[in-house]
Amino acid sequence: MLDKKKNISNFQSSGLLIDEEKKKGIVYFIGYIARLLWKDKTGLLGLIIFLSVIFAAVAAPVISPYDPLEQNLKESKIPPAWSKNGSIRHLLGTDDLGRDILSRVIYGTRVSLTVGFFGVLIASSLGMIIGLTSGYIGGRLDNAIMSIVNLILALPYLVFVVFIAAILGRSLINVILIFGFTDIPIFVRVTRGEVLRMREEGFIEAARSVGATTSRILFKHVIPNLIGPIVTLATFEMSAMIFYEAGLGFLGLSVPPSVPSWGNMLSLGRQYLMIYPWIATYPGLAIVYTGLGINLLGDWLRDVLDPRLRRAKR
């Protein structure tokens, strides 16, 4: 079978063991990523913003001055600290029930990130599986799946989501599930497109010509090529979901009203927009800030994960 004696050549090889090569690679890799981020500073900015949001979500109990649910009617409707009637005790003011805006904004990161992350997780994994099946098998199954996908994509998204949310009721799980499932078609479409492109490329045929089985081709060839586009798409969809959560919350269909979510805060603050504008403004700014960060990160990821860019890896 295999001739293990190295009788092929008298060529001088470098002598470095392969394992050493790889270790050098991992440390090198981190430095490589750092350099890539430095080259494209908007990506760095996006990462910083994103990390700050994650930090806020994780450290919320520690960095929030107050409990976000704590009502204090005596201190209600106080404007931000720098305004005329403001107070240092509430940096961003309070809402109509006396809850501290800053604390609620900080805790709001938890809802947004949870919705965004798990929603995208559901949508991308299921969407990728369906898209792979559709694109790789092709034929009538592909036609059937794509008909359904196109039908769903043709519906006005917000109307669709609102309709379902109204039926299911307000809870965090429901919001995650709604976004997770309604976003599947986008992932299906992108995955399928990539799979079709790969089939035309030729390396799938080449893999078959050395006897790779279908499952091997899917896991070792197709999926590694999908990671780039899917991760990029997932990033942008996550940002979209955060915006949509705000939209749902604004309509009163997101998480229950006591839970501090930016959408809920917007909804609450709308009626006071002319008199106590800070109640809606700061959650709004938080949404924009987070969305910007994620989108900048997504742009950077899209540029970086494109394997066709000719850059020296070592």
């Binding site: 079978m1 295999l2 293990k4 190295k6 092929i8 050549s9 060529f11 090889s13 470098s14 470095l16 392969i18 090569e21 690679g25 034929g139 490329e201 030729g202 390396f203 045929e205 080449a206 893999a207 078959r208 010509s209 050395v210 006897g211 790779a212 089985t213 091997r216 070792k220 060839h221 590694p224 090529n225 990671i227 780039g228 394997p307 066709r308 000719r310 020296a312 890896k313 070592r314």
Partner: protein
């Protein structure tokens, strides 16, 4: 010398929206151990389709193997490549028959290091662990002439030049020491100096491993350099099959003669390059007569009525043509 491949009466059709394409209309040939067969023909003559059908690489909804058998002989066994099951043919692919694709850049996965793609074939077919597969892949890279193989193992396809990529493709094809390698115009996209190196490389490997080679090309220069026998294809049928010397010195079929006459020769000063008038037929109509008749200078009435059979005109020399070989006179004014 024993046969390792026999193809018999192969007919392949493609069922498309625009009609049925009669791609291959009856081809038979065989191959001995250690022999190099060159398959020559224009684009669309059916060279690649025939070869891919041997490994069941044709996409099966449009393509259909209407009839024919292809027997591959190894280890004293015989297997019909067309009726083999998916798992049987997977054992043949890569392990017993290797395939070199024409465009190395698109045949290689862009996100996987080249070394790993070579190791994949080894891991699939040979019972070795990952480390051994890695070592063998590095040996292979060295043997196909890629310097610094150990570092290059982790390089990506886009970091290689065209010639190096093609060498990597060759490494993948020969990784498990197959009995037969099918090379589909591997040097068409490369410049002549690299092409010469690749040809030398293949010859060297072939001699060392006693491998048979089927080389698809439209370059008669390569054929002269590499082939033991030559099969000329036109419009999905073989029109001439002969040892390489006979093809060049005594070509019989008008198409072969036309091809050779069209070669510009060094030192000859001619104002106009000779060509074969006309164009190949579109394959949507089932051929009821000789496919070359419209372009042939030696046609007879019979050529337009029936399909000529494959007849022997010399030792190991077959031609698909009516007409008298001895009295080859142009029919109409030269």
């Amino acid at each position: 010398m024993s046969k390792i491949l026999t193809v018999h009466n192969l007919v392949i059709k493609f069922y498309t929206f625009d009609g049925i394409i009669h791609a291959i209309n009856g081809i038979s040939f065989d191959l001995e151990e250690g022999e190099t067969l060159a398959i020559v023909g224009e684009s669309g003559s059916g060279k690649t389709v025939t070869m891919k059908s041997l490994l069941q690489l044709l996409p099966s909804p449009p393509a259909k193997i209407e009839q024919g058998e292809a027997y591959f002989y190894f280890n004293g066994q015989r297997i019909n490549l067309f009726t083999a099951t998916e798992s049987e043919i997977n054992h043949i692919r890569g392990a017993k028959i290797g395939f070199i694709f024409q465009d190395a850049l698109s045949a290689l996965n862009p996100v996987i290091p080249i070394g790993k793609q070579i190791a994949e074939s080894i891991e699939t077919h040979l019972e070795v662990n990952k480390k051994e597969a890695q070592e063998r892949a590095i040996e292979l890279l060295e043997s196909v002439g890629i310097t610094g193989a150990r570092q290059r193992y982790y390089a990506y396809p886009h970091q290689f030049s065209g010639g190096m990529r093609q060498r990597a493709m060759i490494a993948i094809a020969i990784a498990c020491n197959p009995r037969l390698v099918i090379a589909d115009e591997p040097t068409t996209a490369l410049d002549v100096t690299i092409q010469a190196q690749i040809l030398e490389l293949v010859k060297k490997i072939q001699e060392k491993n006693k491998m048979s080679v089927i080389w698809i090309t439209h370059d008669l220069g390569i054929v002269a350099r590499l082939a033991d026998r030559v099969l000329v294809m036109y419009a999905g049928v073989p029109v001439e099959l002969a040892p390489v010397y006979d093809i060049y010195e005594h070509p019989v079929h008008p198409y072969t003669r036309g091809l050779l006459a069209a070669l510009p020769k060094l030192g000859e000063k001619k104002k106009k390059l000779l060509s074969i008038e006309g164009t190949p037929p579109d394959l949507f109509t089932e051929p009821r007569h000789c496919a070359f008749a419209p372009r042939c200078r030696y046609w007879t009435e019979r050529c337009w009525k029936e399909n000529p059979p494959f007849i022997a005109v010399g030792k190991n020399h077959y031609v698909r043509c009516f007409g008298d070989i001895e009295s080859r006179r142009p029919r109409k004014g030269a």
